[in-house]
């Protein structure tokens, strides 16, 4: 069964949110979903780019009270 996790990346500046996302995904499997909560708007660009090049899929992006929530689905490729 797929799992949904959340990652607190508030106050981290790029590329730290990407690094934390990458490290978190290493512990997840294909089909799991992860919502990353960030405050650096740069993450809105970096996390989707990182997902594209590593074959993960961004399924939702929201902005709530100056916080950016990016939800992605872990792709089929080996995590590293």
């Amino acid at each position: 069964m797929s799992e949904h996790l959340e990652l607190n990346a508030r106050r981290l500046l790029c590329p730290m949110p990407v690094i934390r996302t990458q490290d978190k995904i290493k512990q997840m499997t294909h089909g799991d979903t992860l919502t990353v909560i960030c405050t650096d708007p740069g993450a809105l660009n970096d996390i989707p780019t990182w997902c594209r090049i590593n074959q993960h899929r961004v399924i939702r992006q929201e902005t709530i009270n100056d916080e950016y929530l990016i939800t992605l689905e872990v792709g089929p490729s080996a995590p590293n």
Partner: protein, 349 residues
């Protein structure tokens, strides 16, 4: 069909690593990128902090390069391990506090440790180094030092200047064709730009000084001041991030003010309000400021007068300033803004 050879490319996000990787990809090698985050990298932060940069597309150049090339990119946090490189560089510093040669050795060493790991199984490492490009770290003499001291030895290939160096294992073994590598040297960037055009790359990043803040004099001065005032060269990520933000004013050795210059920085500094004493003018519009150090009561009044000088009440006879302690207690003080003539230029760090 034989499986292709595998290379790890050090991706800084600049043009050289983009080209070096492309050259090797075009030889049928499987390449993946690796990028190390030291905390001093130019990427992102200032864009995120400073509002005036917000219009610019906020992109991470290393990720952009990987996407252009269609390769995976592994970004590795080396903040803690990098401290020893910065604090004790065996080969010394460059013009500022940039330990470029030790930094290169460290990064190639980290890359090779990662590359030879059983689950990764790469065959060699590539970098975008060019002989003579940087006066201290990229010279003909430093190339073998980096290869040797990093432990990568003859598995370190520099596609952009390989023809000026002895053949490496990937060339000797025929994994790559030496004839299709390049012999660039010197500071002239034209050959790289021509090659970029040939490959159809536009819009690539061209960092002026180097890939990190340590090559920047004002930044290095602030870092040196931080070390001196604390009597220790220890630092945490927050310390080095804060050096990128605001005006830094040290009226006395025991404390320093960090004053925001615009809205983006104000927003960023507010994120630290539960760790530092902050102050802001309340009778007039003005910046937010943070105090780092151990000021006395008198020092705090001086700090309030300095902060008042940077707000809209600078010409008023009295300005009300509110202090907020890290635990949230607020106190107000009425002060006279410091006159321009009384703001000693030497206080600016």
């Amino acid at each position: 069909m034989t499986t292709p050879r595998r290379a790890v490319s050090l991706i800084s996000g600049g043009l050289d690593s983009l080209l070096a990787t492309k050259i090797i990809l075009d030889q049928g090698i499987h390449v993946e990128g690796i990028n190390f985050y030291t905390g001093f990298c130019v990427e992102g932060h200032t864009h995120a902090i400073r509002k005036k940069d917000k219009q610019k597309e906020k992109r991470n150049n290393a990720l952009w390069v990987a996407e252009q090339l269609g390769i995976k990119l592994h970004i590795i946090d080396v903040i803690d391990e990098y401290k020893d490189v910065l604090l004790n560089p065996k080969h010394g510093y460059g013009q500022n506090l940039n330990p470029c040669l030790d930094c290169k050795i460290f990064m190639v060493n980290k890359a090779q440790a990662w590359a030879w790991m059983e689950e990764n199984q790469f065959d060699f490492i590539i970098t975008g180094e060019v002989i003579g490009q940087r006066p201290k770290s990229q010279r003909k003499e430093t190339m073998p030092i980096i290869a040797r001291e990093s432990g990568a030895d003859d598995r370190l290939l520099r596609p952009l200047c390989a023809k000026n160096l002895p053949p490496t294992k990937p060339e000797v073994e025929g994994w790559v064709d030496r004839e299709k590598l390049y012999g660039f040297h010197g500071r002239n960037r034209k050959p790289q730009m021509a090659l970029a055009a040939e490959f159809g790359f536009t819009d690539y990043a061209q960092p002026a000084g180097g890939c990190c803040f340590l090559t920047d004099k004002p930044y290095s001065d602030k870092l040196a001041d931080l070390w001196q005032s604390r009597g220790s060269r220890e630092y945490e990520l927050d310390d080095i991030m804060l050096l990128k933000v605001g005006r830094h004013i040290r009226p006395k050795s025991n404390f320093k003010l960090i004053i925001s210059r615009e809205e983006g920085e104000t927003h960023y500094l507010k994120g630290y309000k539960n760790e530092y004493l902050t102050l802001q003018t309340i009778s007039h519009n003005g910046p937010i400021a943070m105090i780092d150090g151990d000021p006395s009561e008198d020092d705090l009044l001086l700090a309030a007068r300095i902060v008042a000088r940077y707000g809209q009440g600078r010409d008023a006879t009295q300005v009300e300033v509110e202090f907020r302690s890290p635990t949230g207690e607020r106190t107000q003080h009425k002060v006279m803004p410091l006159a321009a003539a009384d703001l000693n230029p030497e206080w600016h760090v």
